[in-house]
């Protein structure tokens, strides 16, 4: 088994290299001179030339790439062109924020999505199912930023229940942190909850129609136990896979949500960096996200092997 895991790790390395090349090349294709953008209103040609030289922007692309990789290998992701802050520091500042947002959204989605899916499956053809389906469709179709602005207008401006934006760390003030993150987490969780509901529903329907459920029913197991003990357990397997896959969706959604609620997380960092052509930050963040994805996949692969003995021999 260790051999198998090692093989997966080795396969991940070329993926990482490929990702880094693509990221590097793609942002160089972006129109706009970073130094000119950096200079903003100030345009002293001597200073602009100095900066181009300093950030190796005059070198051919492969040379720039190699220089960057050399730097990255030593653990140095460079400094933000705009504010001089080391990219590693930025990442360590912003990552926990986005993870907190993603985790809260995921928990909300699980709390809402799975029970709704079970209900919809059990009450097939009834009003509950139609209601759940309509809710799920709305959840998937309503854009995050729109829902965000509406929530801010109603909950923060009209009712004054929750702060409209900003971020407070849970170590600083736990309840205030939960309060500021609640709306963004709700917004981010809507489409996720909708996906979960629909998949739980179909997966449950399949399980409820299976032979072992019929057998359980025939044996006189209570309907509640049939649903929760027998059907749900089996139905949850594909849902777990879905949850890991949806994690990517969550990070992508966080970009917009963080913009609307001005949460200083990863998404906001990368959007601002792209607009300011802050190459060092974009490269660092995207590389970090890529590593995260690769690690997640690796973890999923390993877990499959651990959980499902059949895979070890295939």
């Amino acid at each position: 088994m260790i051999k198998l895991i090692l093989r997966r790790v080795i396969v991940a390395i070329p993926t990482l290299i490929l990702v880094s090349i693509i990221v590097f090349a793609l942002q160089k294709l972006l129109p706009g001179d970073p130094v000119l953008t950096l200079a903003g209103e100030e345009r002293d040609p001597a200073v602009l030339d100095y900066l181009r030289e300093k950030y190796h922007l005059n070198d051919p692309l492969p040379v720039q790439y190699v220089a960057w990789v050399k730097q990255v290998v030593t653990g140095d992701l460079g400094k933000s062109l705009r504010t001089d802050v080391p990219v590693t520091e930025l990442i360590s500042q912003k990552l926990p924020v986005t993870l907190q947002l993603a985790a809260m959204a995921m928990v909300l989605a699980l709390i809402v999505g799975i029970p709704a899916g079970i209900l919809a499956a059990v009450r097939k053809g009834k009003l509950t199912e139609y209601g759940a389906n309509v809710a799920a469709l709305s959840g998937m179709s309503i854009p995050n930023f729109w829902l965000g602005i509406i929530l801010i207008m109603v909950v923060s401006v009209q009712l004054r229940w929750l702060p409209a934006s900003g971020y407070v760390s849970p170590t600083e003030d736990f309840w205030l942190s939960m309060k500021t993150m609640l709306m963004p987490a709700i917004v981010l969780s809507t489409s996720l909850a909708a996906y979960l509901m629909r998949h739980t529903r179909s997966s449950m329907l399949e399980a409820l129609g299976a032979d072992y459920v019929r057998t359980a029913r025939a044996k006189g197991v209570s309907p509640r136990n049939v649903v929760l003990r027998h059907a749900l357990r089996n139905a949850l397997m594909p849902i777990i896979t879905l949850v890991t896959l949806l994690f990517g969706e969550l990070l992508a959604g966080a970009v917009l949500t963080e913009q609307v609620f001005t949460i200083p997380g990863f998404g906001k960092l990368v959007v601002d960096a792209v607009f300011n052509r802050d190459y060092a930050v974009v490269q660092g963040v995207v590389l970090c996200v890529a590593v995260g994805f690769i690690l997640m996949n690796l973890l999923a692969d390993i877990l499959y092997i651990v959980v499902n003995p059949r895979l070890r021999h295939s």
């Binding site: 972006l30 129109p31 706009g32 001179d33 970073p34 000119l36 953008t37 950096l38 200079a39 903003g40 209103e41 100030e42 345009r43 002293d44 040609p45 001597a46 200073v47 100095y50 900066l51 300093k54 400094k79 933000s80 705009r82 504010t83 001089d84 802050v85 930025l90 500042q93 602005i149 801010i152 207008m153 923060s156 401006v157 004054r160 702060p163 409209a164 934006s165 900003g166 971020y167 913009q259 609307v260 609620f261 001005t262 200083p264 906001k268 960092l269 601002d272 607009f275 300011n276 052509r277």
Partner: protein, 504 residues
């Protein structure tokens, strides 16, 4: 018992005083500032933060006159090549070290020599800086420079504690700036907040009423305003003009706006690269026809919510260089059509590029509709701002919209844009006579004589239609009703002297 009562009384007093001291003002900014090192900083928004953080040698008043700040007085020698400042002697930096002429010299020398200092150009006329005694600073110039004092009223004149300069790593300054302003740097979380605390040893500390300032960059104007309404912000800068009527109606808010030093203008590519060769706007008659097709009042009313003061010159109304000789041009479609006919191009096709945001897009659409009536068919090219900067610099445009935040000295609003080698002259308009007038004007400190030179230059520029001004950029602020004593300055900076919260 008496002891207990007095203890409780003392505690209440302490709490009360603590409450007033801890009073915090939260200010919403349109963007996150760049590096907080005055010598290397580039953004307009950064200047707003510096205004509370770093004092300058001199400041401006609302009529753009130069007034004392760290320098109490100044004088020129007879041929205007030596500028002598007398400095305050009661000023401390935030690290407790004393501000004196030697510290001022260290700052000016750093600003002039640091390889990535954006202040080099602004201080290019300075040949030598000397500090003969603690309260006297002497600047010897290479030649007369009438613009220098105004430069020293901005980042070039900001003073940092020299002990904070690390010759090995100039980046340390920008991450923890140590200045001598009314507020000192506490922390910054990029894209999130910048926190400043009151500096109790500031020489004018009694006029500053907030214990803490928190700047919160919130780029989306809708979200920024909603935050103000929800109470998360006490004030915000650059309110969207379309929101101005709503804010004025809201009894819990207060609206304050001033015509700024900056402008929005149309730039024509007359000489920059290949696209200039085929550009119909190369012909001054086409440019004039285009200008005559515009109704600036309509732009002001429709997009500007009545606060986009129409412009036909680069010098704002607050400036003593604003000239009555160049009144706002009125729309004249018939004359525009006649001009196009005369140029042999009754139908002109062109492309208007602009940095994409809601307000600019609305202005561009209005221009498109107005020009069409005169026979000028413009296609619109909305572009991401960073990309537009590069494209304009490289000449990849025909007509473009551009904004400028403005400078108190007239030179900063004109020379870079229209002189043959001007850094911001993206259309590369060039006229030797204009160049001569503009460079002469840099050397004349006398206001009346200088104004005459700018008037002459403008007469040529208007005749050539070198560029077309649309409106002076306003600086609209919105704040909670309780914020009192705030006065907007034409440079758009937020000066918190005398500003406080009304007692409930």
């Amino acid at each position: 018992m008496k002891k207990l009562a007095s203890a409780i009384g003392a505690a209440v007093l302490l709490l009360a005083s603590g409450a007033t001291l801890a009073q915090e003002i939260r200010i919403g900014l349109q963007e996150d500032p760049d590096v907080l090192d005055p010598h290397r900083a580039r953004t307009y928004v950064g200047r707003i933060v510096f205004t509370s953080l770093c004092d300058k040698l001199v400041d401006i008043d609302p009529r753009l006159h130069i007034v004392p700040q760290l320098a109490t007085s100044w004088s020129w020698n007879t041929d205007n090549t030596v500028l002598t400042f007398k400095l305050r002697n009661d000023v401390l930096f935030h690290d407790g070290s004393k501000f004196d002429a030697a510290a001022a010299k260290a700052n000016l020398d750093r600003a002039r020599t640091l390889p990535d200092s954006f202040r080099k150009g602004e201080l290019a006329s300075v040949d030598k800086v000397e500090a003969p005694d603690a309260e006297t600073l002497v600047l010897t110039l290479k030649g007369p420079d009438a613009t220098l004092l105004a430069q020293l009223s901005d980042r070039a004149g900001m003073m940092l504690a020299p002990d904070s300069f690390d010759p090995k790593d100039p980046n340390t300054v920008g991450r923890k700036p140590i200045c001598s302003g009314p507020y000192k740097f506490v922390e910054r979380v990029q894209n999130d907040r910048i926190v400043l605390d009151k500096f109790d040893k500031y020489y004018d500390a009694k006029d500053y009423h907030f214990g803490r300032i928190t700047f919160l960059p919130i780029p989306d104007t809708t979200v920024r305003l909603q935050n103000l309404r929800a109470g998360g912000l006490d004030m915000l800068e650059r309110l969207s003009p379309s929101d101005a009527p709503d804010v004025k109606k809201d009894s819990s808010l207060h609206f304050s706006s001033v015509a700024g030093l900056g402008f929005t203008e149309v730039v024509f590519n007359s000489n920059n690269g290949k696209r200039a060769e085929s550009n119909p706007f190369r012909d001054p008659r086409v440019r004039e026809a285009f200008e005559l097709s515009l109704d600036r009042d309509a732009i002001n009313e429709v997009v500007g919510g009545g606060i986009y003061e129409p412009a036909s010159q680069p010098f704002p109304p607050a400036s003593p260089y604003h000239s009555d000789k160049f009144p706002v041009l009125k729309r004249n479609v018939e004359k525009a059509k006649a001009l196009l006919k005369e140029a042999g191009k009754p139908q002109v096709k062109g492309e208007l590029a602009f940095g994409n945001n809601t307000t600019t897009a609305a202005v561009a659409e209005m221009i498109q509709a107005m020009a069409r009536e005169a026979g000028i068919e413009l296609s619109l090219r909305p572009t991401d701002y960073a990309a537009l900067l590069g494209q304009m610099h490289n000449g990849n445009f025909e007509v473009a919209l551009r904004g400028w935040s403005g400078r108190p000295d007239p030179d900063g609003n004109i020379t870079q844009f229209v002189s043959c080698k001007g850094e911001l002259n993206d259309g590369q308009y060039c006229n030797a006579d204009v160049d001569k007038l503009l460079f002469d004007a840099r050397k004349v400190p006398d206001e009346a004589k200088r104004k005459a030179l700018y008037d002459q230059a403008q007469t040529i520029l208007r005749k050539d239609v070198a560029d077309t001004f649309l409106y002076f950029q306003p600086w609209p602020f919105a704040m909670q009703r309780k914020v009192q004593g705030f006065m907007p300055y034409p440079d758009g900076m937020i000066r918190l002297k005398g500003v406080s919260f009304a007692q409930k």
